[in-house]
């Protein structure tokens, strides 16, 4: 139980740091002077100290949505085995329930965006739902690759059986990894689909939905989108780079220490890689997004085929 709480607290604490690291790498790559690593924390502190302004037409749904978002993302962080596999929450829910959690968060955010009735909010909500319904099957297919390989739908057992295997890179995982990366970029409003740093309302997707939020509500929404990115990164590590995660057989505290250090190292590399991808690619037109996500889906299906036919 202590481990479980420790893992969740770690996730909540370092999720903004991960976002800050990506921002810093992007700034370096684009020849700008980088903001400090603690910039997301400062932003959160500033927002928590402000007074919230609510639209006159806002319903309770609008006010409760930030808390629901934050709650679902924290719960997701508890399910994903980012540091250790023998967690009570991680055993309770499998990866398909995890996708359901992400979908819940998406539905609530979209409803809240439409609740106020501004044009930008509902436009952003519609776009986000379009991306979401295309990205979700692709993500499921990616997960099916891992499930097929290890014979279980629970992420902890996926991690355990792939760390036990001597040569963990199966050919089908190459396809799944590329598809997962594409889904990650699309789901977290990153550059080929959406630009997280945009100021132009007409091109926004995620930002358009949270335009009406301010102060502590906005802080929670921002924090939960940082957490979402962190969660996706941890799913990726669990599926494709499971080295270092503490398994039940290992020696307790030492293994945990190694796992935390391994997680930080992986996040460091993954953040730099994400920043590089975002700098190298241009934002797609919104009508190209279905094509992009269909490609991700097909790659994941191809992974399944390669696994079945290459006979691993």
């Amino acid at each position: 139980m202590v481990r479980q709480f420790g893992e969740v607290l770690l996730a909540i604490a370092i999720a903004p740091l991960f976002a800050g690291w990506i921002g810093q790498c992007r700034a370096w790559l684009q020849n700008r002077s980088a903001p400090p690593l603690t910039q997301p924390y400062r932003m959160l502190r500033k927002l928590f100290h402000k007074d919230a302004a609510l639209a006159t037409d806002a319903s309770p749904l609008f006010r409760t949505t930030p808390y629901i978002l934050f709650g679902t993302m924290v719960l997701a962080a508890a399910i994903i085995p980012s540091v250790a596999t023998d967690l009570p929450f991680a055993r309770a829910a499998d990866a398909i329930a995890l996708i359901g959690l992400f979908a819940t968060a998406r539905v609530f955010l979209s409803l809240a965006a439409m609740d106020i009735g501004t044009a930008f909010g509902s436009m952003g909500a519609r776009r986000d739902m379009m991306i979401g319904f295309l990205a979700e099957p692709a993500l499921l297919m990616v997960l099916f690759n891992a499930f097929l390989l290890t014979g279980s739908t629970a992420l902890p057992s996926v991690v355990e059986s792939s760390t036990a295997h001597a040569f963990p890179i199966d050919p089908s995982l190459v396809f799944a990894a590329v598809a997962f990366l594409m889904v990650l970029l699309a789901e977290n409003a990153r550059i080929p689909i959406d630009n997280p740093a945009t100021h132009l309302e007409l091109t926004m997707i995620h930002e358009a939905m949270v335009l009406e939020y301010s102060a502590r509500h906005l802080a929670l929404v921002e924090w939960s989108s940082d957490l979402k990115l962190f969660n996706y990164a941890c799913i990726g590590f669990a599926l494709f780079l499971p080295w270092g995660i503490a398994t039940p057989g290992a020696d307790g505290s030492l293994a945990l220490g190694v796992a935390v250090i391994a997680l930080l190292a992986k996040l460091l590399v993954a953040g730099a890689a994400l920043a590089l991808i975002e700098t190298l690619s241009a934002k797609l037109r919104i009508f190209r997004a279905p094509e992009y996500l269909a490609t991700a889906f097909l790659l994941a299906v191809l992974g399944l085929l390669v696994h079945l036919l290459l006979g691993a």
Partner: protein, 221 residues
Amino acid sequence: MRPSNLIAELLKLLAASLLLISFAMLSRRRTQRLITLFAWQGSVLFVSTLLVAYSAGLTELYYSAALTLALKVIALPWILHRLIQRLGAQWDSEPLVNIPTTMLVGLGLVIFAFGLAQPISRMATTITRHTIGVALAVIFLAFLMMITRRKAITQVIGFLAMENGLFFAATSATYGMPMVIELGIALDLLVGFFILGIFFFQIREQFDSLDLSHLESLKEE
């Protein structure tokens, strides 16, 4: 794990990445990206040939790996880059069918190729016999690319990618062809490529474009 087992796993991984690169080539619109991907395909082929040569202990295969490196990773991509710069052809190459449909057709082709290769791979005795299906799929996908693209350059890249697939099929099914044949094919490829390069300029001079659909209007209706 025994080294030969490890090599077999690595070869499967390389075969999968070869297939992945073929799909990436199908989904690219820009000619320049295609050339980069073609160079990547060549380098994967080079590494896999080296691995097969090492595991089978065949000196001939080392030569053909070196030939792959020189020709498909360095020379041909470089010449292609020069060519499209001289032609000013860094434009978008629009495929005939839209990309998701092309990918779906590609998926069907992969299934077909795997089905086709199953009896062959049962007869083969090499450690790479599982990858014959992948090699066939790469050939089919390159063929599909030649069919769906209109521009002359992308069709030539498809042709070269098809040769890559054939080469991979040869190494994975029978540890490569005799050296004389392989040299002959490499030379043929180079000569054919030069002739096609001259054709590019001729086509552009005649039609002010590299779009091959203009060639069809020559027919008497």
